[in-house]
C-alpha cells in the first residue's frame, strides 16, 4: 500500500497516520473489509491525504472528493454506518490538518464531505445494484442448471427403467411398449419377431461362473446390436439369455430366414476372453404375423414356443412358427391340465382284451386297457394321454387307480369260475421308480381285495433304463416275490439288451405286434420263430400281440408260440362282456 505524500507545507505523515487510525477505529465493525488492520489504516491514510489536497486546492474545487467517495466503497468500506462515522471523524479531524491559515475552512470541509457523500452513496447504490444483478443472474443460472440436472436425472431414471443395466439394450418393458405402440399405430402390415435364446450361456455360467457368463452375454449383446443396427431392426434383451429383434413388414419368409441365418452365424462365433475361448450357440424362434388384430402377449407366447421348438431341434437352429403345431401343443397342454381333474372325477375306465392259449384257445388272461371318458372330447384312447400323464407325473396316481379297478375286477371273475383269467395291467416307468410305493400298493390291494397274486400280472415296457437301474431291478424282484406275474411288453420294439433278460424276474415275453403284422404266409424271413425260441430258452412263455387272422394264429401255433392276443381272438371290451364270455365257457365245461 502506497501512502501518497501529504500536500507540502501543510502537515507531516504522522498527522495523517493519526487521522487514518482514528478513522479506522470509527468505522471498525461497520462493514466487513477484507484486509488486515494495518492495511486498513494505510488505505485510509491514502484517502486522508487526497482529501486534504482537495480541501486545500487553489482555486478550491471539492469535486475530486466525489471520486474518493466512490473508491471508499470500492475498497469495501461500504455501509451507511461507515459513511456516518466517516463524516463524523473527518469533520473533526480534517480542518486541524489543513491548518488555520485557510479562511472559511469549516465551510470548505462541509463542501468536501458533501462531495464525498455524493460519491459514496452513488458507489454504494451501484454496488448494491451490481450485486443484486449478479445474484439474480446466479439464480437464473442455478435454475437452468437445476432444471437441466433434473431433466438429465429424469432421463437417466427413465432410461434405467427401460434399459438393461448389463448390456445397455432396451429391456422387456421397453420392448413390450414398442410392440404395443406398433400394433396401436397400425402403420406396419406385418410384424415378425426373432426370439433369440443364447443356448450356450447356461453352460458357460455353470462352468466358469457369473462373471464370465456376464462377459459372454455382453459380447453377444454387442454383436447382436451391431447386426441389428446394420439391418435397421430394433433389438431388446428380453430376459436372462433371451433377446428379441423386431422386424416390421418383413419381405416374406426367405427374408426372415436370411435374418435368422445371419443372427445364428453372428452368435455362433466363439467369444474370446483373457484366458478362455467360449464356444457360443443360439436358437431362434421366428413368428411372422399380420398386425391387424394382433395381440402382443399372444405373439410373444408364440415366439417363446417357437424358440423351444428350435432348441429341441439342436444347437444353432431356427424355427418358423407353425400354427397347426402350436394348436396341437396347446390342445396337449389343455389335456394335461384336465388330467388331474379327470382322475378325481373317475373319468378313466378299463376295457379288457382276452389273452388266449393257442393250445386250446382258452382265455387264460385279459389285458386291462385304459380309456378316458373326457367330458368334452368324448372317449380317448391311451395314445392321447398316457405320455402326458407320464410327463406331468399324474401317471402314478392314475396307475394306482387303474390297478385298484383291475384287481377288484379280477376278484369278481375269480368268484365266477374255477379257472379265472389273470388280469394284466400296464405299469409305467415312473410307477416303477416309485418302487416302495408301488410295492405297497400292490401288496395292500391283494390283501384288501383278497386276490390271489398269480391272478395279477404287471406289464412293463421294455426300457433302456431298467437293466442299468438297480433300484428298478429290486422293485421288480420284490413284486415277483409277492407271487405277482411280470410280463415284458412290446418285446422287440425297443432297445433290448438281451443279456439282462436272463436275470429279469419276468414270466412272459409279449412279442411286439409289428412282427405278426409283417409276417406273410409267403415270408421267408421272419424273426417270430427266433423270438419264440428266445422266450422258451429263457424259460418264459411267449405271447404274440396283434393277431388278426386265422392264418397268423395257425402259423404262430406251428412255431410253438404259447399265447396270443389280437382282434382275431377278441377286441378290448367291457368287463361285462368278458364276464359273459367266462360264464359261457364255464357252462360249456360243465
Amino acid at each position: 500500500m502506497i501512502v501518497e505524500p501529504a500536500p507540502r507545507g501543510f502537515t507531516d505523515g504522522s498527522h495523517i497516520t493519526r487521522v487514518a487510525r482514528a478513522w479506522a477505529r470509527a468505522v471498525a465493525g461497520a462493514s466487513y473489509v477484507p484486509m488486515a488492520h494495518v492495511d486498513i489504516e494505510l488505505r485510509l491514510a491514502g484517502f486522508t491525504t487526497r482529501l486534504l489536497r482537495v480541501l486545500t486546492s487553489q482555486p478550491f474545487d471539492p469535486s475530486p472528493a466525489t471520486q474518493i467517495g466512490v473508491e471508499l466503497v470500492e475498497a469495501h468500506f461500504a455501509s451507511p454506518e461507515t459513511l456516518g462515522h466517516t463524516i463524523n471523524v473527518l469533520a473533526d479531524r480534517l480542518p486541524p490538518l489543513a491548518g488555520t491559515s485557510l479562511d472559511s475552512s469549516g465551510r470548505r470541509v462541509m463542501r468536501v464531505l458533501s462531495a464525498l457523500s455524493v460519491g459514496y452513496t452513488r458507489g454504494l447504490r451501484e454496488r448494491t445494484l451490481d450485486e443484486q444483478e449478479s445474484i439474480r443472474q446466479a439464480t437464473v443460472l442455478a435454475q437452468l442448471q437445476t432444471e437441466h440436472a433434473l431433466r438429465e436425472s429424469q432421463e437417466a431414471f427413465r432410461h434405467a427403467a427401460v434399459h438393461d443395466q448389463l448390456t445397455g439394450l432396451p429391456n422387456r418393458i421397453f420392448f413390450e411398449k414398442q410392440l404395443a405402440d406398433l400394433i396401436e399405430a397400425g402403420g406396419a402390415r406385418h410384424v415378425a419377431i426373432c426370439f433369440i435364446g443364447i443356448t450356450s450361456l447356461q453352460a458357460i455360467t455353470d462352468r466358469f461362473g457369473h462373471v464370465l457368463g456376464d462377459k459372454a452375454l455382453t459380447v453377444t449383446a454387442d454383436r447382436l446390436r451391431t447386426l441389428a443396427r446394420s439391418l435397421g431392426h430394433p433389438l431388446a434383451r428380453f430376459a436372462g439369455d433371451q433377446f428379441v429383434m423386431l422386424i416390421e413388414d418383413p419381405a416374406g419368409t426367405p427374408h426372415l430366414a436370411g435374418v435368422a441365418d445371419q443372427i445364428i452365424a453372428t452368435l455362433s462365433t466363439p467369444v474370446h476372453t483373457d484366458r478362455h475361448l467360449l464356444p457360443m450357440s443360439a436358437s431362434i424362434g421366428v413368428v411372422d404375423r399380420p398386425v391387424a388384430g394382433m395381440d402382443a402377449n399372444d405373439v410373444m407366447r408364440a415366439a417363446g414356443m417357437t424358440l423351444q421348438w428350435a432348441k429341441a431341434e439342436g444347437t444353432n437352429r431356427w424355427q418358423l412358427f407353425d400354427q397347426a403345431r402350436s394348436d396341437r401343443e396347446i390342445a396337449k397342454h389343455a389335456l394335461t391340465a384336465d388330467l388331474a381333474g379327470g382322475i378325481d372325477r373317475d373319468e378313466f375306465f378299463l376295457e379288457y382284451q382276452p389273452l388266449v392259449r393257442l393250445e386250446d384257445r382258452a382265455v387264460i388272461g385279459v389285458e386291462a386297457l385304459v380309456r378316458w371318458h373326457h367330458p368334452r372330447l368324448g372317449r380317448l384312447s391311451p395314445g392321447r394321454f398316457i405320455d402326458l400323464a407320464e410327463e406331468s407325473g399324474q401317471i402314478v396316481r392314475l396307475g394306482g387307480r387303474l390297478l385298484d379297478k383291475a384287481c377288484r375286477q379280477a376278484r369278481e371273475w375269480a368268484k365266477l369260475t374255477d379257472s379265472p383269467p389273470y388280469v394284466s395291467v400296464n405299469v409305467a416307468v415312473p410307477q416303477l421308480r416309485d418302487g416302495a410305493g408301488l410295492l405297497r400298493t400292490v401288496d395292500n390291494l391283494l390283501q384288501e381285495v383278497g386276490l390271489a397274486p398269480e391272478l395279477l400280472q404287471l406289464e412293463i415296457t421294455e426300457s433302456a433304463s431298467i437293466p442299468d437301474d438297480p433300484q428298478l431291478r429290486r422293485t421288480l424282484d420284490d413284486i415277483a416275490g409277492l407271487g405277482v406275474r411280470l410280463a415284458l411288453d412290446d418285446f422287440g420294439s425297443g432297445y433290448s439288451n438281451l443279456g439282462y433278460l436272463q436275470n429279469l424276474p419276468v414270466n412272459q415275453l409279449k412279442i411286439d405286434m409289428q412282427f405278426v403284422r409283417d409276417w406273410k404266409p409267403s415270408s421267408t424271413k421272419s424273426l417270430l420263430p427266433s423270438l419264440v425260441k428266445l422266450a422258451h430258452d429263457l424259460r418264459l412263455s411267449a405271447l404274440a400281440e396283434g393277431v388278426e387272422t386265422l392264418q397268423q394264429a395257425e402259423y404262430l401255433e406251428s412255431i410253438g408260440c404259447d399265447h396270443v392276443q389280437g382282434y382275431y381272438f377278441g377286441k378290448p371290451q367291457a368287463a361285462s362282456s368278458i364276464t359273459s364270455l367266462l360264464l359261457e365257457w364255464s357252462a360249456e365245461e360243465i
Binding site: A24, R25, A28, G29, A30, S31, Y32, V33, P34, A36, H37, V38, H76, A78, S79, R127, T128, E131, Q132, S134, I135, Q137, A138, T139, L141, A142, Q143, Q145, T146, A149, L150, S153, Q154, A156, F157
Partner: protein, 269 residues
C-alpha cells in the same frame, strides 16, 4: 409432493438460506427479500450478528493466509456460501499464485454465483455438494481433477457444522473428510456455539430453522472432537477473534466471548 431421491436440489428464493443471510450480515446485497426479512428479525434479537459474521470472515482470511504461507497449495472449502469479499482463492493467491481451490456448497445459487465469479480462472472451481455426503464430495470429478490427495490439502469447514444436526453424524462426516487427507494437511474450522451467547437462543434457532439448513446447538466442548487426531496449531481452539488477530488491537468490533464462534486450525500428523 416430495422431490424424488434422484432429483437435484431445487431453488426456492422465497425460503431464506444461511449462505445469503451470511452475505447480508457481511453487508452484501447478494440476497433476496425473504433473506432480508429474516435477517431483520434476527438482528432485532441479536444485533451482534453482523459483527460475528465479520469476525468469522476475518478468521477465514487469516487462516487461509497462514495456510498459504505454510506452503499449502490446494484448498477445499466446504460450505463456501455466496462469494462475498475476500474469497479463499483471492487470499491464497496473494501468497501462492497458482493455489488451487474448490468451493463446495449445497445452495445452487451460491454455486452458480461462485461459478460466474471464478469463470476463466484456472485451478478454481465451484461444485454443488452436501457435506452430509462427504464421499460424493471427495469423489467428485472436479475435486479429483483439481485436488491431489497425495499432497497436503487445506480443508476449510467455516461456520458450516452448526448447520449439520447430530442425526446427520457430523463426527462421522468429519472423520471421513479427515481420513481422505494426507499427512501434513490442515483443517481450518469455525463453529457457532451457544456458550457466551447472550441473546435469545431459542428465537435464533427457531428463525434459522426456517432456512434450508436448520441449525444444531453445540458448545465449545462439542467442537474440539471435530479435529480428531489433528494437532491444533497455536493458539488452539479459541474464540474466533482470538485466533491470531492481526494486532492486539481494541479495534475489533466485538468482544471475544460475544463472538459465539470458536475457531481453530489443526494439522494432520
Amino acid at each position: 409432493m416430495d422431490r424424488p431421491e434422484w432429483a437435484p436440489p431445487g431453488i426456492d428464493v422465497e425460503r431464506p438460506s444461511a449462505a445469503r443471510l451470511y452475505d447480508y450480515f457481511l453487508g452484501g446485497s447478494h440476497n433476496f427479500a425473504a433473506d432480508r426479512a429474516m435477517a431483520q428479525q434476527l438482528l432485532a434479537t441479536a444485533p451482534d450478528i453482523p459483527l460475528i459474521a465479520q469476525a468469522n470472515r476475518a478468521f477465514l482470511r487469516r487462516a487461509v493466509q497462514m495456510l498459504a504461507e505454510s506452503g499449502i497449495r490446494q484448498f477445499l472449502d466446504i460450505g463456501s456460501g455466496i462469494p462475498t469479499l475476500g474469497n479463499v482463492h483471492e487470499v491464497a493467491r496473494e501468497v501462492v499464485p497458482d493455489a488451487r481451490v474448490v468451493y463446495v456448497d449445497l445452495d445452487p445459487v451460491a454455486v452458480a454465483h461462485s461459478s460466474v465469479l471464478i469463470r476463466g480462472q484456472e485451478g478454481v472451481a465451484a461444485i454443488q455438494g452436501d457435506v452430509r455426503k462427504p464421499g460424493d464430495i471427495l469423489h467428485h470429478e472436479t475435486v479429483r481433477n483439481l485436488i491431489d490427495f497425495t499432497e497436503p490439502v487445506a480443508l476449510l469447514v467455516i461456520a458450516l457444522l452448526q448447520f449439520v444436526r447430530d442425526e446427520d453424524d457430523p463426527a462421522g462426516i468429519m472423520a471421513q473428510l479427515r481420513g481422505a487427507l494426507p499427512s501434513g494437511s490442515y483443517l481450518a474450522l469455525s463453529h457457532g456455539v451457544v456458550d457466551g451467547w447472550r441473546h435469545d437462543k431459542e428465537m435464533v434457532k427457531n428463525l434459522y430453522s426456517r432456512t434450508t439448513t436448520p441449525p444444531a446447538s453445540r458448545t465449545r466442548a462439542d467442537v474440539a472432537p471435530f479435529f480428531g487426531d489433528f494437532e491444533l496449531v497455536d493458539p488452539g481452539l479459541v474464540w474466533v477473534t482470538q485466533w491470531r488477530p492481526d494486532q492486539p488491537s481494541k479495534i475489533d468490533g466485538i468482544k471475544a466471548a460475544k463472538s459465539a464462534v470458536v475457531a481453530g486450525v489443526g494439522r494432520k500428523p
